[in-house]
């Protein structure tokens, strides 16, 4: 006896009318983005490619792209590629890279502990992580200026612990103070997205690694770390985007030392303190373009990982 399997009769699926109901849920977000991102960016472009009122020295935005004047942008690019602004850009990239490294070194172990080891204390630890957000960033930086003074508490503690013999002037305009300030200010932003990724890693995969003979370290480097890369990427992006535009950390912690000037300081100076707002707006666009490249890289990596996971 042979049995033949025949394909089930196919039912011609009627195309269902596309419901616009769920699409409507995206409207507030789209409206928000148009109002506060697209229009804002266009306004910055209109200022960057506009002119300046000859009498009042205020920006005269060029809303019509046909009237755009690229003089300020060319001057800014010349100064970035071979001029003084290049130094500021390189310094800013250096500060942000060092600060990101600090965030990883401090933030990863904390996020890992809270996500995988804290068990019943997880809720409390998460509250403690969010606690700094209750106080304004500027207030926290101002507090540090007191703690870091020559006769401040930081020097007192370091001398008490015999880690230094003479008090150090931390606020004398050194790069390390700015970097630590950035790490301190932004590390909570780094920990939270990383925590959510680490917390979702399937524990059975880690157990499988151990069952197959890998040591704890090998399991971490071959299982946990690769699986946490999306979280690391997201945390890095969330952290470095505001760091690149930061200007107040440097202003507060070094009282305006030229040795620690960041690109945000130059933007602030040109937009608020000079008669060349178009130069400030051009700098904003250059910084945005640079960050867009980083963002695009992040998106490409994320999409690739999603595709690999779907296979």
């Amino acid at each position: 006896m042979t049995a033949t399997l025949s394909a089930p009769p196919t039912v011609a699926a009627k195309p269902r009318p596309k419901s616009r109901f769920w699409a409507m849920f995206a409207m507030p977000g789209v409206g928000w983005l148009v109002a506060f991102f697209v229009v804002s960016v266009y306004a910055v472009m209109a200022v960057a490619f506009g002119t300046v009122d000859p009498v009042l020295r205020t920006a005269v935005p060029a809303w019509n792209p046909l009237q755009w004047d690229f003089t300020a942008m060319r001057a800014v690019l010349d100064r970035i590629f071979g001029g003084d602004l290049g130094t500021v850009f390189i310094r800013t990239v250096g500060f942000v890279a060092a600060s990101l490294a600090g965030c990883i070194l401090i933030g990863y172990p904390v996020a890992y502990f809270v996500a995988r080891k804290a068990s019943k204390h997880r809720g409390l630890l998460l509250i403690l992580l969010v606690l700094p957000f209750w106080i304004s960033y500027l207030m926290r930086m101002l507090a540090w200026t007191n703690l870091l003074q020559v006769d401040g508490m930081v020097n007192d503690i370091l001398r008490f612990l015999h880690l230094q013999s003479e008090p150090r002037n931390w606020l004398d305009g050194s790069a390390s103070t700015v970097i630590w300030g950035l790490v301190y200010g932004y590390v909570p932003f780094f920990i939270l997205p990383l925590y959510s990724t680490l917390e979702r890693i399937d524990g059975r995969l880690i157990e499988a690694g151990r069952d197959l003979g890998a040591s704890a370290a090998q399991t971490f480097f071959r299982v946990t770390l690769p699986l946490s890369v999306p979280g690391l990427m997201a945390a890095s992006v969330i952290t470095i985007l505001p760091m690149f535009g930061d200007y107040y950390t440097n202003t507060y912690l070094t009282s305006g030392s030229p040795k620690t000037e960041m690109i945000g300081n130059q933007i602030e100076n040109y937009l608020l303190g000079t008669s060349q707002p178009q130069t400030g707006a051009a700098l904003v666009l250059v910084l945005m373009a640079f960050l867009f490249v980083l963002m695009a890289y992040y998106l490409v990596v994320t999409i690739r990982q999603q595709r690999m996971a779907e296979r």
Binding site: L56, G83, L171, S255
Partner: protein, 390 residues
């Protein structure tokens, strides 16, 4: 998901439509900050004051709240204060009408000609300003506003060196003058210059004996920039306007600063138990001394111009000005409040007498004057290079 060429074109058209609608929309909403060169009219004599509220546009903490309360009580109106952080920001907001103010409280002398030309401030009707004769004689007809037609002086101050007299010998500062900043290698990280391109570059010029403070000579500006840049490595110089608190707190030992900052330091920032003798101020002799003043004006086309005039007059009253000085620490530009008076009243200690410019200082003073677009651009470019630390 893939995007077809047709989808792409459709979206491009949608984006084009958005921009097509958006551009005129932005033009409509953006306001017109261009000057247009219009001038505003003065108000007639003998008008009744409006019911308010009087809207004041000012730097933060640059007027005594008690004085404002006194004005409210005297005229039965409310006063609303909106603050700004820089002169540029203030002019931009007033010109674009983003701020509806009646009184522009603290105009820099170098911008007043532009504010007049742009119609941002209106001509004053002096019949409302009965206290105007109280103003220092030398500022009743100032260089920036002939006959004080559009403005009345608010406060005045000079530029010099504020220092810690317990760490550096006043006689040495007197001897070295501006070189004090370049010689301060023992105080690395404790030296600052004013965060103001004109002030800082002029200071470097005066150190070299150049007293044309309104020069636009590129060579002179470049040399001043080079000299200022030396300070970065020599003394790890800071750039800020915080001398009023950093000197008394001890984080700064030598600061290129304004005279009023030391009065402020004495009045509000000396740590408890610290004697005023730790503060010192030096300025160049009359004829080489840079003196500045801020002025008050009535905003062109404002809602409450009569009330605004009455406010200006109120602030020129000797008793009111004294009360205001006790809070802001910047000397009112009034004859009655001279050095002897403010020292006698205890507002200024004797060792800071130099913080009150004398009649001779003002008569022979050097003033920063407008330089035009190109002149300002030269100073701004030099300043950007200096602050970049490149």
């Amino acid at each position: 998901m893939t995007t077809s060429r047709r989808d792409f074109l459709a979206r491009s058209v949608q984006l084009g439509a958005l921009l097509g609608v958006g551009v005129p929309l932005l033009q409509a909403c953006g306001g017109d900050s261009s000057s247009g060169g219009q001038k505003t009219q003065t108000i007639a004599d003998g008008l009744k004051p409006e019911k308010g509220p009087l809207r004041i546009f000012n730097y933060d903490s640059y007027v005594n709240p008690d004085v404002i309360a006194d004005f409210e009580a005297q005229y039965g109106v409310k006063v609303e204060i909106t603050t700004f952080t820089t002169d540029t920001e203030a002019v931009t907001k007033l010109a674009s009408k983003a701020i509806q103010a009646d009184v522009y409280h603290s105009m820099a002398s170098t911008t007043i000609d532009r504010l007049i030309a742009g119609g941002v401030i209106q001509p004053l009707n002096k019949t409302y300003l009965t206290n105007f004769p109280n103003v220092l004689e030398s500022l009743q007809d100032p260089w920036y506003d002939k006959g004080s037609a559009y403005s009345v002086p608010y406060v005045y101050f000079g530029t010099g060196i504020g220092y810690r007299a317990d760490r550096i010998d006043p006689a040495q500062v007197e001897k070295d003058g501006w070189n004090t900043l370049w010689n301060a290698t023992d105080f690395k990280g404790q030296v600052s210059v004013l965060d103001d391109e004109r002030e800082a570059l002029i200071m470097a010029m005066m150190r070299k004996g150049l007293f044309d403070v309104n020069t636009t000579d590129q060579k002179v500006i470049d040399q001043a920039l080079a000299d200022l840049t030396e300070l970065i490595d020599l003394v790890n110089v800071k750039v800020n306007i915080d001398g009023y608190k950093n000197i008394p707190e001890g984080t700064t030992t030598i600061a290129h600063t304004w005279s009023a900052d030391l009065i402020n330091a004495y009045a509000g920032y000396l740590p408890e138990g610290t004697d005023a003798s730790v503060l010192g101020f030096w300025h160049p002799p009359a004829g080489e001394y840079l003196v500045s003043n801020d002025s008050m004006g009535v905003v062109g086309g404002c809602e409450h111009p009569v009330l605004a005039h009455l406010y200006l007059n109120f602030m020129l009253d000797n008793a009111v000005a004294e009360k205001n000085f006790s809070y802001v620490g910047y000397l009112p530009a009034l004859t009655a409040l001279d050095a002897d008076y403010v020292i006698g009243k205890g507002y200024v200690p004797e060792n800071l007498r130099a913080c009150v410019p004398t009649k001779e200082d003002i008569t022979k003073a050097l003033f920063e004057k407008p330089l035009g677009v190109e002149g300002d651009a030269k100073y701004e470019a030099a300043w950007s290079k200096f602050t970049s630390g490149a």
